[in-house]
Amino acid sequence: MLSSLCLVLLNALVISVAAGSDYHEQLLLRPLPQNTLLASFNFRSNESAAAFEQQNFRYFPRSFGQILQHAHAKELHLRFNVGRWDAENWGQRPRNGAREGGTGVELWAWVEADTEDEAFARWLTLTNALSGLFCASLNFIDATKTIRPVMTFAPEGQHANSSNLHLLHGTLPHEVVCTENLTPFLKLLPCKGKAGISSLLDGHKLFDASFQTMAIDVRPICGQGDASCFLEMEQTVDMVLDIARSKRPRDNPIPRPLPIDQLECDTSKLYNAHDTCYPLNKGTDPAWTLEEVFGKPLRGACPLTEQSGDEVNTVCINTPPERTVEVRTTGQFAESKLASDTVRCYKLPTGAHFDLVLPEQKMSTGLVRPDPQIFAARSINGHGQERGSTQSIIRNPSTTEAVEIVYLESLPWFMKPYLHTLRARVDTTYESPIKETYYRPAVDRKRGTHLELRMVIPPSSTLTLTYDFEKAILRYTEYPPDANRGFDVAPAVIRILSPQSGDNRGVYVRTTSLLLPLPTPDFSMPYNVIILTSTVMALGFGNIFNLLVRRFVGIDEAPALGAGGLKGMLLSKITRLRGLLGKA
């Protein structure tokens, strides 16, 4: 009951986003099991389409807007992702997975162009420009990493004004997302991390999180009439923090054991020595404050957000009603309770620090976490340097409803799947779950494999998808510097078509990325080859040459050199030298 209520609320919050002030931001905190905390930041800025065309930027960042205009990108989604969402423990993904990407960097955009070639050229412009803006290797998204998905992605914005849109999608699973990507991300915000909830974002904590994803989404939104079109840019950060880990002070970040007298031991157990300790399972929610967990204080509201109306509640916390939440601030704030008191929201004071203090507390009730609609896992099987197979296991936990999904794989060209080995089995039925297949085979060094499957999983069943693949042997120069580490394969993207969620953003689940070991040569090989070939050629030449120009005589007729062999020759040379020295 409670869980469904809070879900409804979250969706309501998301939908109310569509209209309103030019800039809006919100932070939603939700404690998760195992002493973790989910923090969802959302920043949204609007710019009217006319001002955008004339390049008069107010809340929309200029550098980003110009890139979009230059590349003719009408809608863009950019994701930076680190870590893995633990669906078994944490439940449903934040924002239904619509604002997260696969490990590394993921980018997809609708580009306006007359031809496919033009669209691809603009796509390259876009990736190169974004690469500079976000200090990420986005420029490595070339033809081999670009696909044009058919079923998986649908535009979120209204594109009545533009025709000839091309969807392009690229991933960089190997990219390590770090602070250098956060800094430009914060610079795009009007308050720049100096005020508002963005002042909580700190690279040390963000990239220390168990799971974190940064997303930028740009889409055009039109009102009823065509005149009121505007461009919406949404920046989101979702992170799962380990509370104990985050509370470590920055000057002493290494976990060290506490002195024995400060340990809290389970005294109900028997001890045979005084220096042992069974940890006490207190069954309480830990104490934390915003400043402790994020490492920085929340410096009041960003004054650009609207000061009245529905969207004044900038910080929300989703806890059971009995949980004590204290507010520590010198400024004026307002509290409101929503969804039968499971969500408490605060209007932040301007210009004063704001902190939430949650003491340690033993809880009798908890929130029921909604289960995700599917669980998905993918792995590489097989051994050897030549072949392998992948296996994806997708489970539908619902006992009543079948789930219809689109499964998208974007494989690098050097991983060549055999489509005839593609098998999809459901454990409860013999019927094939695959309804539709879209397959575009790879071309060596030109493009990667693009596989999209539309499948239906019956209630409480598990789908197993397997296919074999062959590993290509790369050219010497195509190996990266850390070739023996293996090659990353982009995560599979799963979109749930039905049951559909309330908004038009879709429900997505992504698997983890794969590490594919390829046969790796010895990198001194070319020089060895040069030397070996040269030696063989020189040997052949020397033999033939000597046969042609030497004079052959009987062994007894050979000149004196033969007498002592090498030794004799050396002796004669030495004596000759000695003679010369003696003369001199």
Binding site: K187, L304, T535, G542, F545, R551, E557, A560, G579
Partner: protein, 557 residues
């Protein structure tokens, strides 16, 4: 030599001598087999020297397209094109008569006497007479017809006879290249006289109108190359320094400029400004008049929470003036380049930044200490204007067009000097056409010097590859330069500028060809090192056999 060493050998080691004696001597070689061996060695060497080495060198050589080095160097040294600027000045007299022709002749004479810069030459011509008095009135009313008829005319002088006022007097129209000269009819020189007040007056006026342009061109010619120095008139050091300052301020020529207007504020207010109207009122007219030379894109942004760099000295409060002051030497660090998002605009062409900084109301007014000014120009980059708002209390959340007016005036002035527009004369079209000529000349020089640099690189670095498109670009540059130079000589400056622009673009393309730098760090030694495992073992038997055979030839001979 060989025989002698043999001698020593036999003397010093009797044991070996015995061994030699004891063995059988091989039968003496026949002449045929001897020659056969020598021939086969020789043929091996021939194959290696005449076939192997050339093929090896050829296949491993770097492709270098042929460049017209001689021509390029000549352009760079200014031997090919000596830019001249013949300006045509049309004189419109109320009646075409012998008197008018005579006036023209005397004025031209007077003008040639004052002019000491031979490359810049003013030539007076009589304009077609207006058909009727009414038509003449029409011309006066719109003022553009004459220019559209013949755009190669630099200036139109209209002689208007008047009865009243001091004569002769002149009036330069600010928005058309027209000089109205009022004279009394008796000032027209008669056929017999050699000088007249009107002619001298005209000559003086023209000379002063074009004085700054002459100085600019002279400065340009003197800085470019010694070859021109001879005919360049001497400039006083002060003028020279000022022109130098002007030219270092000005942006390099580009076909497109991106203008970025940014509002920076240290707090959250003001977060909106009526920039669209302000730009339309104050900047667009200026940009339109420049549109003949370059294109412009304009974008604006609002940036809040913009703080000074921590390394820069913070503003100090001055009790006397009741103002916060910045020191002049700290102005260079005012723009916090690390944090303020002033990245260049995407697309070709340089970005010119104009910054409105609204100080926090606790730090207002903010002025420059030395001169109590509130704006300054950053050479080749843009301008900054500190907008001190009058309001006592909080900073307003939005700026109106009226509040922005002082900033916009500053920016249009800064834009003019960033653009390299001369300070005088008062007529904007004249200044722009002056800029056209100066730009054409400087583009020709810079394209030529780029060619020269390319020629030098070609000669100095024999290991860099030169692809064909560099040669093509070079040829196109030379063609465009030649055309630009010809048009300059004919006095057709817009076409000259166009070709000079194309030449510059091609020259830059040739010089900055990316594939040329790739192998700079891969010298010939590397090539030899890679092939040494083959060359070494092959060379040793060849050389040894050749030496041995030479030895035996010497021994026999």
């Amino acid at each position: 030599m060989a025989a002698e060493s043999e001698q020593t050998f036999s003397e010093t080691s009797p044991a070996l001598q015995n061994a030699v004696k004891s063995s059988n001597q091989p039968p003496p070689e026949t002449k045929e087999s001897l020659w056969l061996r020598r021939l086969s060695i020789l043929s091996f060497w021939a194959v290696v020297v005449f076939l192997g080495l050339p093929i090896w060198l050829k296949t491993t050589a770097i492709y270098r397209a042929e460049l017209p080095l001689q021509e390029m160097t000549e352009w760079a040294e200014g031997k090919v094109c000596k830019p001249v600027f013949p300006l045509r000045i049309a004189v419109e007299a109320p009646d075409v008569s012998a008197d008018a022709h005579h006036l023209l002749r005397t004025t031209q004479h007077a003008l040639d006497d004052i002019n000491d810069f031979s490359a810049h030459h003013l030539r007076l011509m009589l304009a077609d007479p207006p058909l009727t008095a009414n038509a003449s009135q029409q011309v006066v009313s719109d003022g553009t017809r004459i220019q559209s008829d013949d755009e190669d005319v630099a200036l139109l002088i209209r002689l208007i006879p008047v009865e009243t006022g001091t004569t002769p007097r002149s009036h330069l129209q600010p928005f058309s290249p027209t000089l109205d000269v009022y004279y009394s009819p008796n000032q027209i020189p008669s056929q017999s006289s050699t000088g007249s007040t009107l002619a001298t007056f005209l000559a003086q006026e023209l000379h002063s109108l074009f004085a700054e342009e002459q100085a600019q061109l002279a400065h340009l010619l003197s800085t470019i190359s010694g070859a021109h120095a001879a005919k360049v008139k001497a400039l006083s050091p002060e003028t020279s320094a000022q022109l130098e300052r002007q030219s270092t301020r000005a942006l390099k020529y580009a076909p497109t400029y991106h203008l970025t207007f940014s509002l920076f504020s240290p707090s959250y207010a003001p977060s909106a400004w009526d920039i669209e109207t302000a730009l339309r009122t104050y900047i667009s007219p200026l940009l339109e008049s420049f549109s003949g030379i370059s294109n412009f894109t304009v974008d604006t942004q609002v940036q809040l929470y913009a703080t000074f760099a921590p390394s820069v000295r913070q503003p100090e409060y001055d009790e006397e003036t009741k103002a916060w002051t910045l020191r002049k030497e700290d102005l260079s660090g005012f723009v916090n380049a690390a944090e303020w998002p002033l990245s260049p605009s995407i697309g070709k062409g340089p970005t010119v930044n104009f910054i409105v900084y609204v100080p926090d109301h606790t730090q207002s007014p903010l002025l420059v200490n030395e001169n109590a000014g509130n704006s300054w120009l950053i050479p080749q980059w843009g301008g900054v204007h500190i907008l001190n708002l009058q309001s006592e209390s909080d900073t307003p959340s939005a700026l109106t067009t009226e509040m922005l007016a002082p900033a916009m005036h500053t920016f249009s002035n800064q834009l003019i000097s960033l653009f390299g527009l001369p300070q005088s004369p008062a007529s904007l079209p004249l200044r722009i056409s002056t800029l056209e000529r100066v730009r054409a000349a400087s583009l020709i020089f810079s394209a030529s010097s780029t060619l020269g640099a390319l020629a030098q690189v070609y000669k100095k670095l024999p290991s860099i590859p030169v692809p064909d498109n560099v040669a093509q670009s070079t040829h196109r540059t030379i063609v465009h330069l030649q055309q630009a130079c010809d048009f300059l000589r004919d006095g057709r400056f817009p076409s000259a500028l166009e070709h000079a622009r194309a030449a510059e673009v091609e020259a830059e393309k040739a010089f900055f060809e990316r594939s040329m730098v790739g192998q700079v760090y891969f010298p010939d030694e590397h090539k030899v090192a890679v092939y040494l495992p083959l060359l070494g073992p092959v060379a040793v038997p060849l050389v040894m056999a050749a030496l041995k055979e030479l030895k035996s030839i010497l021994k026999r001979g």
